[in-house]
Symmetry: C2
Subunit: 188 residues, 2 copies
DNA sequence: CCTATTATCGACACGCGTGTCGATTCTATT
DNA sequence: AATAGAATCGACACGCGTGTCGATAATAGG
């Protein structure tokens, strides 16, 4: 008599993901979530006390899913160039399909909640990339670059790209150019 | 009997600039502007029909002020490296003092109004940078880089930087690293 | 089938921002 | 000083989102 709760919760999260990806964080109201899940205000509120709570649950879910496990691949001994290519391909995909990505919502959410979540997400991204580059340098696949600088370059150009690709019609080759630039930095 | 209008309009714009810089676009209400300008709703509405209108006036004002006139400097024959340094210094300044910058507000505004303003601003930024790099290559000051790629790199890493510097405590040297990277790309 | 518990409903009161409009105050001009 | 027109005021009605709460429906376990 206790499992239906989890089921509904999952339904709410799935539906909300689409809303947040499409509209950003602040633009999503509890009313929107009610409509899309065909629930009433009361029913919904008994699961989540507000959109922030839903979004946090989503963030947690995402950060656990961990799309590309760089550390794991390193342990497996996958070549650094291969990991790099996967990671960059993932970036490209997100830029090509911004409507499936929470990036804008995360940004808005981060602005209003100076929560640790963002700092944590960022630190983990930095650590992953740093680990990959160190690894590539060690195996001799990558040039002996300044790791810190390269990580900053990758992360922030990527952030800029995915934020603005939503706003400005961007030439198709623009993300490719930046990805190529990153590759040129790393691969001799 | 007709000039007080312009005066008040200027006062409203000045005050609003601070609000938008501090809070972004959507977070600023007509009430806020009333409070900060010590006007009533009616008075304010007789000047601007809404925050969007105020913001557009600000954008226009800014795009006319034209902080660094790259084309002008090129015509004057200023060395490309010097122009580059000024432009990058300006970027650095904006990242160091995000509270004086409209960047977030512009981003928010752009999201809700798929207006030409953004596309125009972006195109002009692209053109300026492209002109500068072409110029530097021609005078032999810059390496013979792929202009398009370098412009993308500069603009988007800069965008990423200034958006996220508001959210995440950023190491002081991070913007310097990116600026140095850009210089390394261009200057032999 | 019965019942205790859980899940869901939808009306309610509230806060906040919007845009309007008739009344009022200023002010340049004569 | 008188006055017409401009500038400003602030109360009003409205829409929208929020969070609550007592009532109702659904369901697992006996």
């Amino acid at each position: 008599m206790r499992f239906k709760r989890e089921l509904t919760r999952g339904r709410i999260l799935d539906a909300s993901y689409k809303l947040f990806a499409a509209k950003g964080f602040k633009q999503v109201t509890m009313k929107d979530v009610c409509d899309i899940t065909h629930m009433s205000r009361g029913g919904l509120y008994s699961h989540f006390p507000g959109t922030a709570s839903i979004f946090e649950a989503l963030l947690q879910q995402i950060s656990q899913e961990n799309f590309l496990d760089i550390e794991g691949e390193i342990d497996k001994g996958t070549p650094a160039t291969e990991i790099l290519n996967s990671a960059l391909a993932q970036m490209q995909k997100e830029i090509d399909h911004p409507e499936d990505s929470l990036s804008i919502a995360i940004f808005e959410y981060a602005q209003m909640n100076e929560s640790e979540v963002m700092i944590d997400l960022n630190r983990r991204a930095v650590d992953k990339w740093a680990a990959l580059i160190h690894y590539g340098i060690k195996t001799g696949e990558f040039k002996n670059v300044d790791v810190d600088e390269t990580v900053s370059l990758i992360l922030y150009s990527y952030q800029g790209l995915r934020m603005w690709s939503r706003i400005i019609p961007m030439k198709k080759k623009t993300p490719e150019q930046i990805i190529n630039h990153i590759k040129k930095q790393l691969i001799p």
